[in-house]
Amino acid sequence: MSARPIATTRSAAGLPTGRLAVWWLIVSEIVIFGGLLGSYIMHRLAHDAFSEQAAHTNMWIGAFNTLVLLTSSLSAVLAHKAAVAGDGKRAFKLLWATIGGACTFLIVKSFEWTNEISHGFTITSSTFWSFYYTAAGLHALHVIAGAIIMMIVAADARKNLELHRVELIGIYWHFVDLVWIFLFPLLYIAK
């Protein structure tokens, strides 16, 4: 009996089961974030007061974090490319570069939130700030989860083990990037 996991050996739907599972996860995430962002958009369009509150968010911080996530997506896809070439050590380094991007994003966000909360903008201040902290907070939780999973995948990749997982965590990470691509204009630009 093989010791290899089903995610590696079975391909019932025409693609490896692990990758199929990641796509299903992403589809469920689209519904979660889509519902949240859809609710935000309808409230934003219905209430002009949202723009007054949104004026207090810092576009430059949002833009910097967008740059960080785009760059981390680049290192994630380059890690995937290294894994395809069988270079586990390079994939390991690039995955850690991506984790560095995740940490940078979270540090910047924590400073940003500290500043906003110290100015009295908390999750209960208004509907806008409720959406702001819920959407950005849920996204930050995904960043934390992705970074932790990436550490586990990187540890195996260093030993040239389970290299297919580099692509799987990469697809997830790009989705986290995608969500931020829409959060950035909604929360920081449309004022």
Binding site: M42, L74, H174, F175
Partner: protein
């Protein structure tokens, strides 16, 4: 499509070039609102967000070389999102309808501006 073909097709992409395009688009979305024209802001913010999302999904997530049903289930999720929006937005965005009016405790300014209807909710 076999997995080896899948791997081969997306190793030809110049990822650094795609990243550079994404950074330029980010720059445009930041500069757009500085003109102070609402239409330009909407196009540079949300139009470019859609273009950036397409570039990431195609070149980084490789959805274009994935089995077609993957794109189908993703599109299905997006359609459900639109259905959710279409089904709930009127209740949130409209202040009153033919036989109803939003209660004052939900939206006081709306109540003040809405015409009075007999039998409307308080």
């Amino acid at each position: 499509m076999t997995d080896s073909v899948h791997a081969t097709e997306h190793t030809h992409v110049n990822y650094v070039k795609i990243w550079a395009i994404l950074v330029v688009l980010l720059g445009v979305s930041v500069v757009g609102p500085m003109f102070g024209i609402k239409a330009v802001t909407l196009i540079t913010a949300f139009g470019i967000a859609v273009v950036k999302a397409y570039l990431v999904a195609k070149n980084f997530m490789h959805i274009n070389v994935e089995k077609p049903f993957v794109a189908y289930i993703v599109v299905t999720a997006l359609v459900f999102m639109l259905l959710f929006f279409a089904g709930t937005a009127p209740d949130v965005m409209k202040k009153f309808g033919t036989n109803w009016e939003k209660p004052s405790w939900i939206n006081p300014p709306a109540h003040a501006s809405a015409p009075s209807h007999e039998g409307a909710h308080p």
